[in-house]
Subunit: 367 residues, 4 copies
């Protein structure tokens, strides 16, 4: 319960710090028989690496994943898959200054408050590098979901005031623009906005949206394990996320029932909904429509302008953070949202396999 | 994992349907030695009951709680506390019509998709009455938190376009207005808005806000069990919630680092923050400031205007829902938000008691 | 984690004390579509009730179960099944004496040590009546296992020095003899032995054996969730059990590899083993042979002879326990062993349904 | 739930196969502030390594542990501790023969039955090397327990027919004899017995006993999480264990209440028991006496005499297993029993810290 394990049947445990020996994940409960090698996982890690763009930290992170267990002759065996990414570029910088005070917007103070001290090198486990374990494990979940016909696609919806034009949605742009926006024009505007932020020694927030296609109706459990509740926890557990929306999200509080209700309709024998304000979930259970969620990401807390704070002696001081930091977290978090969504969905799909008595009796008739 | 259990150490399991014999909760992991009787719980259940106002269903729900176990001579014994609320007003209405089709915005279709059939009387377990177990159990968590100096206060922040004026915050109004707004003027406006909705055979959404005071810094666990992640799941698991915000929430995605970062400051030896955009949580761990969260609630799906949907035969039909239904869910959900928040906080506080080695060694030196 | 919840997917939570208002269980994760009514459960509760024999307490326990939720029109809905058994015969005896001291062999002292005080009326939750919740919930698991072709049969193997003759195994005798022995001759001897015990104001221990037939190979998970490990916990969690054996059990420590290894053999295309020293489990996973386990039950701690102990003031005293108590726990625990075994097996069978990738892809191709 | 995670608050996840790249464990929930380095763990791993004796496999296993995360400047930080032991001596033997059939007494068949195929090199995850993760993680638990004044001591009680003489108990002998017996004379006899076994191409079982001193009264939770139930699962989850006993264990089933009940006594204000048939646990909760448990270990299934079995084609065949294998598992499993016991106790002690309301209020008054 200390917080590094996620999932019920498809269960991952992550570990590692920014400047320790490495980071990793153990995936337990992965079904046997899945073809798996490092090349299935590496592209996802590459997506969360800083690019060679003006908005990404120039720290070189090769972030090569190695599979240490759980795969035999190219297939998963059903036993835990241990994944490791060695840290390579941690240098013995002078962290004595950063160790002495609490950076605003960071977890420096809260880790000290909880544990009595903290690993102050590069943020320790509160670093964004913590997400490496999530992404590596999530890549496996994504691969399994694909075999089940389910796809998960996240992208940057906005950076600061710049929103993508969804009518110009271009999926390939997600993987080729520096902002991970599915709209090259918006990407250009956003890059200009970020350049301005950097000039002002400031940083920007943004929105990540995620669409799930192919999820059948019936996934998710009532009451505390509603699919939207599980997704919210998964997404809100990503550092810097401050709000999660499902479907129309915050708009529903100012909507009307006559507008917000989605009419069911039947064409042939296929049931669908005329609209999807609900974002594909009713009563915590998927309704067969695309699942839609959004995460609101706060601006990078590391900014270069002068800030007020306190040091460990309790003195009020002013600081200027050095080094180089991304002016926006959003683009690198896109694949993290995908990973957490995939982990949540796969686990919910597994849990659903015992929802009806005939599922059990049919299964055990054939085993 | 089927979804009716919540919490790790302070663990509740709820059960019951709208029109079954009753509803209840089993609270396991409640510390021994707490004074507890029905009168501690009943006021919370009374707050979620429909009032005698124009916006509440006239169904008479006495909702009297009975403690069946776990209390001896007025004190909790450390063993499970079983709570039951008998259903009294379920009448043998004719549900054959409702059984035959899927109401838009309700979970009728998704329950059928998951389980093959459903309890169609009054919504079964997807009914709002499901929250009775949460509220009864949550009342115990609230009482324990109080003894620890922690308070949880939720209220209606908006109904449709009508927002409370926080500068006129009046806590008693929460418990006396029909809308549970802490602002009597806003309450009047909201009631007018709702009257309009009802006249239009329509319904309204709204926002519930919740403030936690007295929570020390250090509560919450890193990575997957972040305090905000746990709160999000807890709140999103309440039916009709479609978005959860922490602190500034959705605003952060359009904010700047220079604005969003909260400066630490020290007065005497007390550490605080000059602002609280973060809503009291940094890196998933409480920072000692008030925790702030908001839930966006969708409009009541049961509206009286004509709606399109399908029946179980797959035919496209038009329906008009009968009976009486609240034009807004928000006021009755306020105490549910309080309950889920309290359950989450208490569990996190319990989990925190082993965060440091000296906590263990000190404890076991005295036991 | 406070100990009243059992199982991962098929999950039960029990509650209640000996002399409180009642006892019960909430079964969460029961598949939808199972025919279920009180008559399915009551026979199991009747088997744990004291009979009208010389070895059973004359306390009248009608122990009528009521289903409060989770069943609609005779079928389980997939939502939690709340079961309650009201206590009817708790009388306001004078418990002041029993409250003042610690009975040897009972949990009086340890409950006080843990919780600071205890419910001393009839043992509170440490009473044998605690098993009512297990048996009621277990009856549902047994019913589902039957539909899957799996049977669980427990019986008394020995009482004190009297062992059943397995070559004379008579299943009906389990349900008709006072000792629950599958051998009427052994039953007579055991009853004589118990009469002698009672005359001496003493009590006897015994062994319960349990055989599972029809469980396919492949059930159970490696490492910490081995099927035998899960069964051991389940059985050892029954009060008064002090040892658990699988297959040859304690004999293996004095055996030889050449004797203990079970040879595999193939007839037609059916794989089996020539012997079953392993008790149907290899590496924590079922091998398709019958599962065999044994529980060693201690003598009833309530005996009428004079005993030394201490009172709550810390004075050394001598006591003589009054009232009537069974001279042996074994017969009434037989159905409890069956229940705990069934709960463990069903949960393991459910968990197994995601062991292979093609299980998932096949399932979701049809949903 | 796939079985590689153990514990609730102090939670470990193990991974790795006999002939893969390595094995390891992630320890989550370790309190911050514990001094920890590889030298704290290595001695425990060394104890499970084969020695240079006639009864141990000559395979050279250096089994050097490396700490990858969770420790900063010599102290645990409260974040997950990742431990890795690289496999160094796995050679590319020819496993085609072993891949083609099912060895009696091994998990070859059951893994195939469950997963459809298996890692046949050296037993994969069903190998005894799986225990490396348990021992490495357990060493941390042992260290914490020591700081709390709790010690865990396991030793070989018997090998085949040779039992130690407890009146000659010599703790140092545990760590110096090849058999891990606390009695050098018994060690000599046991070694002779094993030499005989080896000559006969056979193997032997044995008993491991474990004593816990210093555990205060009150640890363990009622009903399903009884301390003895948790210990049973922990111990039975070790490969080759077929029976677990607490206190007098299997003897209780033939005992009398008058003999089996332990009288309480008070000297000064210290409560103790005159005897300890119960093995330190009453009603699933520790009573302050030493905890006593025993594990019965089956003979090594790998024997060199000719055995009957089947191959994967379903043909009945005869095999002779090659290579070198220990004629007894017991000595190398002693430290594994210690590790699993320590993990269980520490977790139960952590869980106990919220058992009473004043524990919480006292704690949060000081935080």
């Amino acid at each position: 319960m200390a917080g590094s394990t996620f999932g019920n049947i498809f269960k991952i445990t992550t570990w590692g710090e920014s400047h320790g020996k490495g980071l990793g994940a153990v995936v337990d409960g992965c079904p046997a028989g899945l073809s798996l090698c490092e090349a299935d996982i590496q592209p996802y890690l590459d997506r969360r690496k800083p690019g060679q763009t003006s908005i990404a930290t120039p720290r070189k992170e090769s972030d090569q994943v190695e599979i240490l267990s759980g795969v035999f002759e190219g297939k998963t065996t059903g036993t835990p898959i241990s994944l490791i990414v060695r840290n390579t570029s941690q240098k013995s910088s002078d962290y004595s200054e950063i160790a002495s005070y609490y950076r605003p917007g960071h977890a420096d103070y809260t880790y000290d408050a909880k544990y009595g001290f903290r690993d102050y090198t590069g943020g320790g486990r509160s670093s964004g590098r913590e997400t490496i374990g999530r992404v590596a494990a999530g890549a496996i979940a994504v691969k399994i979901l694909k075999e089940m016909g389910i796809s998960v696609t996240a992208y940057t919806k906005s950076i600061g005031p710049v929103f993508v034009d969804m009518s110009a949605f271009d999926q390939t742009a997600i993987y080729t623009t520096a902002t991970c926006m599915p709209d090259k024009k918006a990407d250009i505007c956003a890059m200009e906005y970020l350049a301005e932020c950097m000039k002002n020694k400031d940083s920007s927030g943004g929105i990540i949206e995620c669409i799930i296609n192919g999820l059948p109706a019936g996934i998710g459990d009532p009451v505390f394990e509603k699919l939207d509740a599980c997704l919210s926890k998964a997404i809100m557990s990503i550092g810097s996320v401050k709000a999660v929306e499902i479907g129309d999200g915050v708009l529903v509080s100012q909507s009307l029932g006559s507008v917000n209700n989605d009419a069911f309709t039947c064409t042939g024998n296929k049931i669908s909904k005329k609209t999807n304000h609900a974002g594909g979930i009713l009563g915590g259970i998927s309704d067969g429509s695309p699942i839609l969620l959004r995460a609101h990401i706060k601006p990078t807390p590391s900014i270069f302008s002068r800030q007020e704070t306190i040091n460990k002696k309790g003195e009020n001081i002013q600081i200027e953070i050095k080094g180089r930091h991304d002016p926006v977290i959003v683009p690198r978090a896109v694949v993290v949202v995908e990973a957490m969504t995939a982990l949540t969905l796969l686990d919910a799909c597994m849990m659903n396999m015992t929802a009806r008595l005939d599922y059990l009796t049919d299964f055990y008739r054939h085993v």
